[in-house]
Amino acid sequence: MKRGRMLRGRMTRGRRLRVAVPAVLVAALLVALAAVLLTGCTQERAPLPEGVLVVSQEQQASWIRNFNPLTTASAARWPTLSGIYEPLFIFNSITSEFVPWLAVGFEWRENNRVLRITTREGVRWSDGRPFTAGDVAFTFELMREFPALDRRGSWSFLDDVRLVNDNTVEFHFERLYVPGFGEIAAQQIVPEHIWKDVEDPVTFSNEEPVATGPFTEVRLFRNQVFELGRNPYYWQEGKPAVEALRMPALPSNDRANLALVFDEIDWAGNFVPAIDRVFVDRDPDAHAYWFPLTGSTIFLYANTKREPFDDVRVRKAVSLSIDRELLVDVALFRYSRPSDPTALCDAFASWRDPGAVAAGDWVSFDVDRANALLDEAGYAWGEDGFRVDGEGKRLDFEILTVSGWSDWVRAAQVITRGLADVGIEASVRTGDFGSWFQRVQEGNFDMSLGWSYEGPTPYTFYRWLMASDTVEPVGEIAPGNWHRYASPEADRVLEAFEGEADPEGQRELAAELQWAFVTEAPAIPLYPNPSWAEFNIGRFDGFPTAENPYADPSPNKFDRGECLLVLTNLVPRGQAADGSADDGSQAEEQ
């Protein structure tokens, strides 16, 4: 009987439990649903905090805390290079000038074999310790010891770095290489007193950065958002006016654009389709953009190791077949214009040689001349409306682009149409970035769209288009010069350039390079890429605009620290000390 009672109790409890559990579950569900619906309908979007600049540059699903400015293995966090750490000089690609930053001056010595840099005095690290030339020397020594940190390959031309005194450091070059200044100038400097104790700087995640930049204090770090507060010891008096940087994790261009349109972002560097309608018209007082043509130049690269693109006439004919006006219309919503014959983007506007521009008549749209050139090159019309080569083989090629890069894909389609008019059959082949990159680097393609490499001077640009030493055999990885073109003429000029420190001399050599380019047509320029920049001028004042082009407006120009120019110039509306304060407060109230 005892056993019976025990069982009895168990059964009763069981009964109640089984009734209770579903009931509670259902109730909880209903409550949750109701709560959710209520909150969903009543809660408005919270306004952004005043003075906090919300930036979207990196597209990430979630943030991982890493503020290592030297690591090469992956891109450093955007603010690591544009707000936390600072370089010696910042190259301003709008004015084509080096702005002294952590350094105040430089001097070439010993026939341009030694570069002496004078560092700024009064700069302090964010922990209050003084910044000295020793930190510069240390940073470069660290890069020598850990090649994985040498992102710009400085030690491929450097021989030694010597500390002269607390504000002077000397760079001894292994060979004559004046363009190396650009690489040294752009190097972000890390504090010796912190980094000397780091066991492995390659994998160091540097969660609490100590740096010289305007925003060094990690106020908040979640996988969805992080914030950087002001550096209490920032060397520029009274700056930055922006209280903090906030970085929301936005996984895609599309998502970032949505956030931008809904005023969740103050500064972005995205491609926005039909920007006037989609973005500006929604709130003309706050939404603004400026797309200066200072991105890299987009080329159609023809593989010069393959027939018929080894023939300059064919390359020029291809170029002449392209309706670049239509191309920028269809591919880029008219955000750009056709490239000029020198292929230089507007960052190098002051370097352009009018003679070369005039001579490069093949960078235009002229089907008749294209046909004439192809006839001359010996490619006769075949029966099916396409040209054939000497062996009777039809001219048909693939144009590679990256899937998802719709501007490129559209551009390639426009090119295909133009080529068909001159008797060349081309098909667009899209692939994912990895496979595309592999193919172009190995030279395993007929034609492909691609970007160019830019440095502070046209030297870098033309070197990666024409220099013999950048040509790798087909099948081996070439970082640039994917079309594998070698110009002895360009080699000569480039070598001279490497030894020329005088700006006037550089200008003359750059003109010679432009002449070499327009004569030999190593690659087919399409259009200069816009430097994407959208901003909320309702919340912040001081973004670069066409009217006030003091720097490149795009957050994408972070690699060489250019964003620092903008960040230190921004002023939250309502706090502005100058005359714009009135408009600012009005905008604030809206």
Partner: protein, 316 residues
């Protein structure tokens, strides 16, 4: 010995029956036939779907029935051509999944013993490993293209069929007529092909349909992630491009709405076909249907207790 045994589910003829007698099956079949015709002949009627025919992101108009994409292609042309590729991959994957499932499931069910143990373990393991992530990971390593897509879809999807077909084989194996063949000393291969498989025809067809639903859905998903060949025109890549070209931001609903509707319609049609077939072949469901019709005709509604109808003119 190949004649069908009494009491087993009949094969293809039951499907025709289903379509003829069940409203749902008829609707489903109608939808599927429409899309198959569209896939076969549609591409001949529209232009090159990759052609840039106009200004990007135009809303639907007489000239472009469903507007233009973010690249200025005709959405309608893309939809029609995408139908062909998507259905082709869908049906062939659906078929392959069942073939693989049948090979493994029937072998396991028929062979029994250790073979069964091993194969069952294999598909049970595959059943609990999440399919889509597996497909994504495999697809990431392979060059993108329809073959890769088909391959990963089969890898991620065969196990369910194997499991069902193994159970069915086991059931059939214990039937008298199969047991008799075993006693008569017929070869295992013959028993499987002549006795077991023919008696599973309708189940196999139903599985192919189910497999196709799975294949189309998963294919669209993978392609949406950009894991297919994004230069091919399929439903999945259409959606991928729509997303890529900021369909949401620009309000270009016409670039993604029609494609999604088509995917859903095909899936719906196939499901209806399957459930209509189930209704017809499942004797229980069929009788209940007749019963309900009988009651409705006599102004009675099915209730909880055995209904009582007035003695009418229907004396037996």
């Amino acid at each position: 010995m190949t004649a069908k045994r009494p009491g087993t589910i009949s094969g293809l003829s039951a499907w025709i029956d289903a379509v003829r007698h069940d409203k749902r099956a008829a609707v489903g079949a109608g939808i599927i036939v429409f899309f198959i015709l569209l896939a076969l002949f549609g591409p001949l009627l529209v232009g090159d779907p990759n052609d840039l025919v106009g200004v990007p992101l135009q809303p639907p108009s007489a000239q472009h029935l469903l507007g233009t994409t973010g690249q200025g292609q005709d959405v309608f042309a893309q939809l029609v051509v995408g139908t062909r590729t998507s259905l082709l991959i869908g049906f062939s994957v659906g078929l392959t999944v069942v073939l693989v499932g049948a090979l493994i499931g029937v072998t396991a069910g028929y062979a029994g013993g250790r073979v069964d143990g091993l194969l069952s373990l294999l598909f049970n393991v595959f059943l609990v490993i999440p399919g889509l992530p597996l497909a994504i990971v495999i697809a990431a390593y392979l060059p993108s293209g329809p073959l890769t897509l088909g391959f990963v879809l089969v890898i991620a999807g065969w196990a369910w069929n194997a499991r069902v077909l193994r159970a069915q084989t086991l059931a059939l194996r214990n039937r008298d007529f199969v047991a008799a063949s075993v006693v008569a000393g017929e070869s295992g291969w013959r028993i499987v092909t002549a006795e077991i498989l023919p008696n599973m025809t309708s189940l196999l067809v139903s599985q192919v349909i189910g497999g196709t639903v799975y294949a189309i859905g998963a294919q669209v998903g993978l392609e949406f992630l950009g894991l297919g060949d994004v230069s091919a025109v399929t439903w999945g890549t259409n959606l991928y491009w729509a997303q890529n070209d900021s369909a949401l931001l620009t309000g270009a609903w016409w670039t993604f709405a029609p494609t999604g509707l088509c995917v859903a319609l095909v899936g719906f049609g196939l499901t209806m076909l399957n459930s209509g077939f189930d209704e017809i072949t499942n004797p229980r469901l069929r009788l209940e249907r007749a019963w309900r019709a009988y009651l409705t005709a006599r102004n009675q509604r099915p209730g909880r207790s055995t209904p009582v109808v007035a003695m009418g003119d229907d004396n037996v």
